[in-house]
Symmetry: C2
Subunit: 469 residues, 2 copies
């Protein structure tokens, strides 16, 4: 919801759309072809099978890992077999490894004694030394609270960031956005005040015993301050720890993490392309990211987006559709902990003065699609979103809406090319049950929901390819 009155931009957009329905920018043939796209994606889609391989045979695909390399080769082969022109675009990625299983233990608390907590080291975090860290815990709800408490209260402590995601946000990504600063910047901010470690409440709306990893960034460290180790704790154990602190006033926490950052490693974006027959310089790109966290197998995040993107071309090819514009399917590398692939792609694309008429990212999971977000520079948005909005009656007959909003981390750097950027918008209620966890696995993905995502993107690609923007 954009505001409490529910008068969101979504409504404004659709109201505009309806004022335009007298002059619909598509034909009955388009409606028939899109029905064929849906039938094909639901009966001859490959996304679910490819995802099975990518998750169950390859596994978690952290940048720099052998699994990430295997995923590069696997998706290269798929696109090559489909007859796309495939290139590997080299990039150097951070190479972080988790090492031995991390642990955290409430030590000898007055009210509960000694208890092991469900934790996961945060990605990119420094580790502890072999003996681990023992220190008193101080609970805070925000980065600002750390700053307000100051060095006197923070120094020598483990800072426990415990502000939950806001459950009244209907869109769980907004709830995530409202809490994730603790995970990303908590370690740097706490270190600046002398903390020896941070433990962060997992980014999920569920109460359960599953810790959620995710990246930490140390770029807010003051000059000369060393990074400190950071880990995530399950929401149930976050509540437990908070209760112990409320009862006892203070308690010690011990934790040990063997993770470390190795030297940067070479890796690749995988780019499949079919040249357009009429407008080869107008690129329609569909992308997801190939890397994932090492826990779980990156099924929703973002195996789903990768197989979505590849299956779009598979469906169009099966329907003998010959694109007028250039279709490009991109498997981005290292979205999770560095964005090296996205940065390299944008750099090279801008250097070649390419024009992405449209880029569509799928990085919000393989759930039932509910539409697309769109973004562009202001003037571009006003001009280019009009045609997309004119397709709304057709899209809405498949339950798809269009709304203004961010597209995705891997494509947003292409905005300067003055095209329209889209993000697939699936139902978001379950996404953060799985995000960055050991349970983000193939079984958590429903075949029809995944394949409907393919159909939604393919329909949009078809309309953009046929009519431009």
């Amino acid at each position: 919801m954009k505001n409490i009155l529910g008068l969101s931009l979504l409504l404004l957009i659709t109201t505009v759309a309806y004022s335009q329905t007298d002059n619909e920018a598509y034909t009955d043939d388009d409606a028939l072809f899109i029905k064929e796209i849906y039938n094909t994606a639901l009966t001859n889609g490959q996304a679910y099978n490819w995802l099975n391989y990518m998750t169950n045979k390859i596994g978690g695909r952290l940048a720099g890992s052998p699994q990430a390399a295997a995923a590069v080769e696997y998706t290269r082969q798929i696109m090559d077999t489909m007859g796309m022109h495939v290139t590997l675009q080299g990039c150097m990625v951070p190479h972080w490894v988790r090492g031995d299983k991390e642990m955290a233990r409430v030590v000898n608390s007055r009210s509960m004694g000694t208890i092991d907590l469900d934790v996961l080291a945060l990605g990119n975090s420094v580790g502890t030394d072999k003996l681990g860290v023992v220190a008193p815990v101080i609970e805070v709800k925000s980065l600002d609270e750390v700053k307000a408490l100051g060095r006197k209260k923070i120094e020598g402590k483990i800072v426990f960031f415990n502000r939950p995601m806001n459950p009244t946000q209907l869109r769980t990504f907004n709830a995530y956005g409202g809490a994730v600063d603790q995970r990303v910047h908590g370690a740097a901010v706490a270190a600046n005040y002398g903390a020896v470690g941070v433990i962060v409440r997992s980014m999920t709306l569920r109460l359960d015993d599953i810790p959620h990893t995710g990246s930490v960034i140390y770029n807010q460290l003051d000059k000369g301050v060393e990074p400190i180790p950071a880990l995530a704790v399950s929401t149930l154990d976050a509540n437990l720890l908070s209760n112990i602190l409320a009862k006892d006033g203070t308690t010690d926490l011990f934790f040990k993490m063997n993770c470390r950052m190795l030297d940067p490693a070479p890796s690749y974006n995988v780019i499949g392309e079919i040249k357009g027959s009429e407008f080869p310089d107008e690129i329609i790109m569909i992308g997801g990211h190939l890397d994932s966290w090492d826990v779980g197998t990156g099924a929703h995040d973002d195996g789903a987006g990768c197989v979505h993107a590849m299956d779009v071309y598979q469906v169009l090819k099966r329907l003998n559709y010959k694109p007028k514009r250039t279709l490009r399917v991109v498997m981005f590398m290292n979205e999770e902990n560095g964005l090296a692939g996205a940065l390299e792609y944008a750099k090279q694309s801008n250097a070649k003065k390419e024009y992405h008429l449209a880029a569509i990212e799928s990085d919000r999971g393989g759930f039932s699609p509910r539409g697309f977000t769109m973004e562009a520079e202001n003037a571009v948005f006003l001009e280019k979103s009009k045609k997309a909005i004119s397709w709304l009656p057709l899209l809405r007959s498949y339950g798809l809406e269009l709304e203004k909003g961010g597209s995705g981390a891997d494509i947003s750097r292409l905005k300067g090319q003055k095209g329209l950027l889209f993000g697939l918008n699936p139902d978001s209620q379950r996404y953060f049950d799985y995000h960055h966890t050991p349970i983000d696995v193939w079984d958590a993905v429903n075949e029809r929901e995944l394949q409907l995502g393919v159909a939604a993107i393919t329909s949009l690609v078809y309309l953009i390819d046929k009519y431009g923007l």
Copy 2:
């Protein structure tokens, strides 16, 4: 989808709505109150907790079972505790019991030897005798095919109904509606031509090893023909059996079912009521069905609908909302295999000349809500749907659509009272993964998706109560 051009009534309805937005039939205060409803349902809803009890403590609630009786008492207590006036409305229900675990075995097939199949007796089916049934199998795709084959081909055989649900139907309920005649009437039609049993492909779009039960009805039996036993087979084993028949031409099947129909048993609808302060004779009813199948614990079907309905009042009460119209929360008994509760409710309501201004049924699972279907007699629909449609801009800001379509089996008999009947319309992609199976359990329900259903229904109830229809 109503037709291949995607020009569904949904669109027509929303187009009407948008032509009316200059004169919106609600205020900013309504928008604020509905935001409060959502916040309350997401942070202080009880549906998920009640469902936990109903599924994990009580269990499967087949009509006539001790668990169904326990569910009557449990929901009576909840509504009584909330201060509703609660009555138990007696009805006699069929009392079918499954008995010992059923089995089916391909016997000594040429290509595969002897294989046990994953099966479940269909509800209301007669059993076999102690020795079971052995007979050759004949595969068909429809009731008509049985009739076309005739007695010569069918007599003495086990008829294997194997027409799958159509995966290209976007709404899985339509796919179900297009295949379920085989399960409901297959046994009677096959018996009329001398078959000794039927085995029916499970009603699901998944390929897995889970058989789906559901009711069989023998009302199409010719005079003097005895009912024959019927069971469901998992989709994977249906494919296996079909492959064996394709290879071998024929094979024998053995099956044994200990199920039987006992004498009708007394049971109850549970009715909670709050009299309206201004229009007590205008009833707004919210209902789900308390009974479920005996396998699994009836979480989506229809524990979700029951706790949805009760939580609507819990949320309104927590917000200190005093209804102007009479609110009635009804837990219907025996939807699954007889509709005894719905029939009794309609009979008594019609006899008392009650007027259900609106009735809202939730019996499509506890998934993310996408809107409501609406039905009424034609003239009533034209008149009463107008106001509901005028609320669409507000509802749509929560992702809810309105469309013409069936309401639900338990309330549709109230149409003659000339009110508007609604069915909650959740995302349907996963429903038939769980429907009538051992895996329809609490863990298959997502808390937020369930509670958003509560919020959607409560919002609609609030608007109807405030503005009428």
